[in-house]
């Protein structure tokens, strides 16, 4: 994967704001995205990801702020808009058109000659394993195939920036691997902006990741730096057999001196600490004092999910 440099900015967002009555969906968002990188956009439901993406693609108009694509300001009628290709989260296809027909149609709407649109369409269908279905009506394809078609419709005009909104949602494992590999082949040649709830996916494919919540940008960095930044040490996961919810507060407070981060989720105690193996006997002792018997004990490295939960909290969103 080729990572872009700060001198090679393809998309610059400055002071972006979008309000819906009382709610500020995107709050003073500023970002720079570099040529050739895969840029992850992470955030809980309602964090403002889709609103931000829709402004970047020209579907929504910001209340304040500016967006520049390859130095050109994004407007309703400018050319900047067609430099972006979008794969929406929901399946947006024409059910009564064949796969190749809709690729050709969208291509011609971007002023691509019909012959070239056809050739590109065939190539994209082949890349997504849909070549045999080129003359099938899109409405007759399986859900997974429709998702793959949904992805390539946004690429028919060979855009410099590709926005993929949850591209792996609803895909079977085989299709997921295919799409992931495809995104990797785009990296370097194209700039990919990716939104996902799949932390593993983001960790694997993204060069940089932005985490937003309540419309604000919380952090932006490489996955490695984000994981390092969340704290030193590894994570302990200890399953508690006879735990009751009323013990949460006393357990968490008793571990404060031993671990940098303590949390309880689904009867599992999560601790992040350095020298984890040395501290294990003391941890087990403390649990025994709380009359907790332990089940499975696992330890692992920090993940992007830990970073995400650490930053955005555990409370459920609407």
């Amino acid at each position: 994967m080729v990572k872009g440099t700060a001198g090679d900015i393809v998309l610059r967002i400055s002071g972006l704001v979008k309000r819906y009555k009382e709610l500020t969906a995107v709050d003073n968002l500023s970002l720079e995205i570099y040529r050739g990188e895969v840029f992850g956009f992470l955030g809980p439901n309602g964090a403002g990801k889709t609103t931000a993406i829709q402004m970047m693609t020209g579907i929504l108009k910001p209340d304040a702020g500016e967006i520049f694509i390859q130095g050109e300001k994004l407007t309703d009628h400018g050319k900047a808009k067609s430099k972006v290709g979008v794969c929406p989260q929901s399946i947006v296809i024409w059910n009564k058109m064949t796969c190749i027909e809709q690729l050709e149609f969208v291509g011609t709407m971007y002023d691509i000659p019909a012959k070239i649109a056809h050739e590109r369409g065939i190539q994209l269908l082949a890349d997504m394993g849909l070549l045999e279905k080129q003359n099938k009506l899109a409405g007759t394809l399986s859900g997974g195939m429709q998702r793959r078609l949904n992805l390539i419709i946004g690429l028919i005009h060979d855009p410099d920036i590709i926005v993929l909104d949850e591209p792996e949602a609803g895909l079977d494992p085989q299709s997921r691997v295919l799409v992931r590999d495809y995104i990797k082949t785009l990296a370097g040649k194209k700039t990919v902006i990716l939104t996902t709830h799949n932390m593993d996916e983001a960790d694997r494919v993204c060069n940089r990741i932005a985490i937003i919540d309540h419309g604000k940008l919380l952090l932006v960095d490489t996955p490695e730096n984000l994981k390092k930044g969340t704290g030193e040490g590894d994570i302990f996961e200890i399953s508690m057999n006879n735990f009751s919810g009323s013990q949460s507060a006393s357990i968490i407070s008793s571990f404060k001196t031993l671990a940098e981060f303590v949390s309880i989720s689904n009867n599992t105690l999560l601790l992040r600490t350095t020298n984890i193996l040395e501290k294990l006997p003391a941890i087990l002792d403390l649990l025994k004092q709380q009359s907790i018997s332990t089940g499975e004990i696992r330890f692992r490295e920090n993940t992007l999910e830990d970073v995400f939960i650490n930053l955005t909290g555990r409370s459920l969103r609407e």
């Binding site: 020209g58 309703d76 929406p88 058109m97 969208v106």
Partner: protein, 387 residues
């Protein structure tokens, strides 16, 4: 060029949705068949209730009972096919008769007074007092106005026979164009053809709203396609479907006995222009809708106006507003089918030519441009520009 690609795409989608297309194309011809069955296969009969109170003239003077003669004259009236035109039921209870009039089971009530024969006899002898009959009916029942003419005709005929007097006036009737040969069905065909075009409103709006509902419009919004490219392409398909519907409606009517007295090509030109204007109204409806369900609710209002306030379904009084270049402009002139119905009537029934319908054509074109521009502006604002 993009308009042509949008047209091709929408035509392909329309053809592949063949059940919907078939229903759209068959709706108006089906309506024509239904209307024909109602007007042609059922003879036109007017029920005339009679309360005959006439008393025989005292013996020695004459045995005439002119009330019965009047009844007989009424019963002898026949239509062009030789069917009895007026039925006289055997009811003698006034309350039942009034109920029948209210429920429109009967067209008119004729009350013959007790002294009817006496008065007719007196009249025969040169008395200046005239015999009186009383008629009652529901003015809002269209059958009443027609039945009353026949009843008066029968009354006049019976009086002339009974008194031996001749009618003191000569009556000359002249029909415009071919209207004299026109039956109810033929007279309704121009309106039915316009009705078939009006029915395209929902189809035109739905073809666009489906794109909004499926969010495919958002994909197109990101391309270099303009709202004008899109709406022009989509409209072309709907105009073609409308023309097919008009042709199907027209030839169904021809198969059922309709004869056009003017140029069919001119009539089709009127229909094409009207179809374009209805598609324009469809664009306005689509712009104000987000779902197919919305089309059905938002679309009801213009559909109702176009069907009932343009003369497509039945002739309407003109609520005149002002005059332009010697032409009185009425409230319903803002609806293009009002002009289309007049133009089609002139062409198909009266055999009028192009110059006779210039005003109507100009009005339809003007309204089409207004509807389309309004639809375009609303569509841009509601569905195509970034919000």
């Amino acid at each position: 060029m993009k308009t042509l690609y949008v047209f091709k795409k929408s035509l392909v989608e329309q053809v592949r949705d063949y059940w919907a297309l078939l229903l759209t194309l068959s709706a108006a011809p089906f309506f024509v068949v239904l209307y024909w069955a109602m007007t042609i296969t059922t003879p036109k009969v007017y029920t005339v209730e009679v309360l005959n109170n006439d008393k025989i003239v005292p013996a020695g003077v004459t045995s005439a009972m002119h009330g019965n003669e009047l009844l007989q004259t009424i019963k002898t009236y026949k239509d062009a096919s030789g069917n009895q035109l007026m039925l006289v039921p055997e009811t003698h209870d006034k309350n039942t008769i009034l109920e029948n009039l209210q429920e429109r089971k009967s067209a008119v009530l004729l009350e013959i007074p007790e002294n009817f024969s006496v008065m007719v006899e007196a009249c025969k002898r040169g008395d200046t007092n005239k015999p009186v009959i009383k008629v009652s009916g529901d003015m809002m029942n269209p059958q009443y106005s027609i039945a009353i003419i026949y009843v008066i005709g029968a009354y006049e005929e019976m009086l002339m026979q009974a008194t031996g007097r001749e009618r003191f006036y000569t009556f000359q009737e002249e029909f415009i164009g071919s209207s004299g040969d026109v039956n109810d069905f033929t007279a309704s065909v121009p309106g039915l053809i316009i009705f078939s075009i009006i029915m395209m409103l929902s189809t035109a709006a739905l073809s666009i709203v489906r794109e909004i509902e499926n969010k495919t419009i958002t994909r197109l919004q990101l391309t270099r396609m303009s709202a004008l490219d899109y709406l022009s392409g989509m409209s072309l398909t709907q105009i073609i479907v409308s023309i097919l519907s008009v042709i199907a409606t027209f030839y169904t009517a021809v198969a059922l006995g309709f004869t056009a007295h003017g140029s069919i090509l001119l009539a089709i030109l009127v229909c094409i222009l009207t179809a374009k204007s209805i598609v324009g109204v469809g664009l306005i409806v689509a712009s104000l809708s987000k779902t197919s369900g919305n089309v059905l609710t938002v679309g009801v209002f213009p559909l109702f106006l176009l069907m009932w306030f343009t003369g497509a379904m039945y002739p309407l009084p003109r609520a005149e507003l002002f005059t332009i270049a010697g032409r009185q402009i009425a409230l319903n002139d803002v609806l293009s089918p009002s002009h289309a119905v007049i133009a089609l009537n002139k062409v198909l029934i009266h055999g009028a030519g192009f110059s006779d319908i210039l005003f109507e054509m100009a009005a339809i074109i003007f309204l089409t441009v207004v509807y389309f521009l309004l639809g375009l502006a609303l569509f841009r604002k509601m569905h195509f520009e970034a919000k």
